[in-house]
């Protein structure tokens, strides 16, 4: 076991707290950077897809995991990002400009939508955000001059400073760069006064208010930055899809995003990443499993969304801390070996307010 001597307040603020962090995260980064040289192109494409999910997951984690605002409508922000990016790219804007605009549109719409929703909590907030997502989907389907309606909108290959990203590995590094940027911002947010205010609102609105936190402003900030990150994810998603149609951003995507943060572990930055890996791999696993299952089950319509639902319910019942909770327990098991006891986590099995129906 590692024992850390704290001699400075900075040690509590630093992101990489000790040499172990440097070593393991360094190793992980190295593996990720070398992956395109080693792995098959198909896997690189899938990994890029997971990064896009992770960006959206981090975006969703801020309101759902930290501020306690369960959003069932984040597919809308993906759509806003994707269509904004696609539209401005087709209008001749350079890649970075239209990519930034996708983030800004997400930010502004996220802020605006929270103004009427800020007094709602729990399931009411979830339903209102679901309504928002459905409205956005309908607008996209009908605003033909901008979005192409149901006929769709094609998105060109990304070109940065005249350098076309034609290969999968180039797109992979683009997604990775955005993910690292968003990850850095989220980690900063969590250790800053704003992030603390978010967590305060999640745990007790009344006491957050009496500590001088302006609830409306912080809820708006939380949803705005979430809209921005998810919008950026949407912009990258647009390149992955090549062709945008409104039904790519339907209710199922919202559920997938929410499942990502719940299964990953609510209220943790790790959770968004774990959840993205899980949600990214699950369809592949289902596809492989289909070959081995009897056709009556394997060809069953709605198998995938059904399984998503079942997995989410099982996680909420048996592991409210999600995959991250498992990860912490596994780590502790090896650190404490052979003294680990299950009861260590007994008392911490409480639920966040987001998970309760209020």
């Amino acid at each position: 076991m590692r024992i850390i001597f704290k001699t400075s307040y900075l040690q509590d603020i630093k992101l990489l707290k000790h040499s172990g962090y440097w070593f393991w995260y360094g190793l992980l980064l190295l593996a990720i950077l070398l992956a395109p040289a080693v792995l098959d192109e198909f896997y690189i494409g899938e990994m890029a897809f997971i990064y896009i999910y992770a960006i959206a997951g981090l975006g969703l984690m801020i309101p759902v995991g930290f501020t306690g605002l369960p959003s069932l409508g984040h597919a809308a922000f993906m759509a806003i990002g994707a269509y904004t990016h696609g539209y401005f790219l087709n209008a001749g804007f350079p890649f970075l400009a239209s990519f930034a605009l996708a983030g800004i549109f997400g930010l502004v719409i996220g802020a605006l939508i929270t103004i009427p929703l800020k007094r709602m909590t729990g399931i009411y907030f979830a339903i209102a955000s679901l309504a928002f997502a459905i409205i956005v989907e309908e607008i996209i389907a009908h605003w033909k001059s901008v979005t192409g309606g149901l006929a769709g909108l094609t998105v060109d290959m990304p070109v940065i400073f005249g350098f076309a990203l034609e290969n999968t590995w180039q797109f992979y590094f683009l997604c990775l760069a955005v993910l690292l940027g968003v990850l850095y911002c989220t980690l900063n947010l969590v250790r800053s006064p704003s992030g603390r205010a978010f967590i305060a609102i999640r745990d007790s609105e009344i006491s957050a208010e009496s500590m001088g936190i302006n609830l409306s402003i912080y809820k708006i900030k939380s949803f705005a930055i979430s809209g921005c990150f998810t919008g950026l994810a949407g912009a990258l998603f647009a390149h992955r899809l090549y062709f945008l149609t409104p039904d790519a951003f339907n209710f199922l995507l919202s559920i997938q995003l929410l499942m990502m943060v719940v299964v990953g572990g609510l209220g943790t930055v790790h959770g968004a990443i774990f959840g993205a890996i899980f949600v990214g791999l699950l369809p592949q696993v289902i596809a492989i499993a289909k070959d081995y299952l009897p056709p009556a089950i394997g060809e069953f319509p709605g198998l995938e969304p059904g399984l998503f639902g079942v997995i989410m319910v099982l996680f909420i019942i048996f592991e409210p801390m999600g995959l991250y909770g498992r990860w912490v327990k596994l780590k502790l098991y090896f650190q404490m070996f052979p003294l680990y006891r299950k009861a260590t986590f007994k008392r911490q099995k409480t639920y966040l307010k987001t998970e309760r129906v209020q």
């Binding site: 307040y9 900075l10 509590d12 603020i13 911002c185 900063n188 947010l189 250790r191 800053s192 006064p193 704003s194 992030g195 603390r196 205010a197 967590i199 305060a200 999640r202 745990d203 007790s204 009344i206 006491s207 957050a208 208010e209 009496s210 500590m211 001088g212 936190i213 302006n214 609830l215 900030k221 930055i225 209220g267 008392r347 911490q348 409480t350 966040l352």
Partner: protein, 257 residues
Amino acid sequence: MTFFKAENISIDFGGIRAVNNVSFEVDKGTIFMIVGPNGAGKTTIFNIISRIYSLTEGRITFEEQDITRLPAHRVVQLGIARTFQNIELFDHATVLHNLLIGRHIHCRSPFFADLLFLPSVKRMELAHRRKVEDVIDFLDLQHYRDQLIQNLPYGVRKIVELGRALCTEPKLLLLDEPASGLNVDETEDMSFWIDDIKKLLGITVIMVEHNMNLVSQVSDHVLAINYGESLADGSPREVQQNPDVIKAYLGEDKDAG
């Protein structure tokens, strides 16, 4: 100049008048106690002061400023901090984290600076941490610094909540039953701390309390209320001997009549 003044405050919940025409003044640097049987409206008065409830009638002024219509989060910025009877801490956070939230009103960094964690934010964070450590030392919480609230015993949580209120550097502190649920030793510690808060930190305290020992030990002025109306107002001794107060607490003596 009156430090804190409540003039004829009343509040209705539907048809029920929970507080009726109560007036009181608090002098700077004193400990003002509100006592009364259960349901008398003590906590309601606290919720009115910290603007969780809105007054039906009346006026509240703090340092000559009218706070009757201020939003709740502005009240604490003026220097009025509070604790809750049933502990409203942030359960999924550490003690340190909870105390740092107490510093929120002194955090002035713009949102984008937080996102990038600019050097200015880092400097401010270190300064806040130092202030928080002062409070930790004052209340002897060193041992619990990195523990999650949900794993702490009740008595410690009470003290953490007091600490969080102190972190806001208030001028006026509202304590809602600080000794409820504490054992004899803990209550004694609490009474010393409240005394220290007054004498060392110069903070004025308004508190609600049932423990009469604590009331007579620390308070300078007592207001007794029952059914939302004020019964008696004066020094602890005067109030304890007031016949109306005795009647409210113990009932009437039939034979004496």
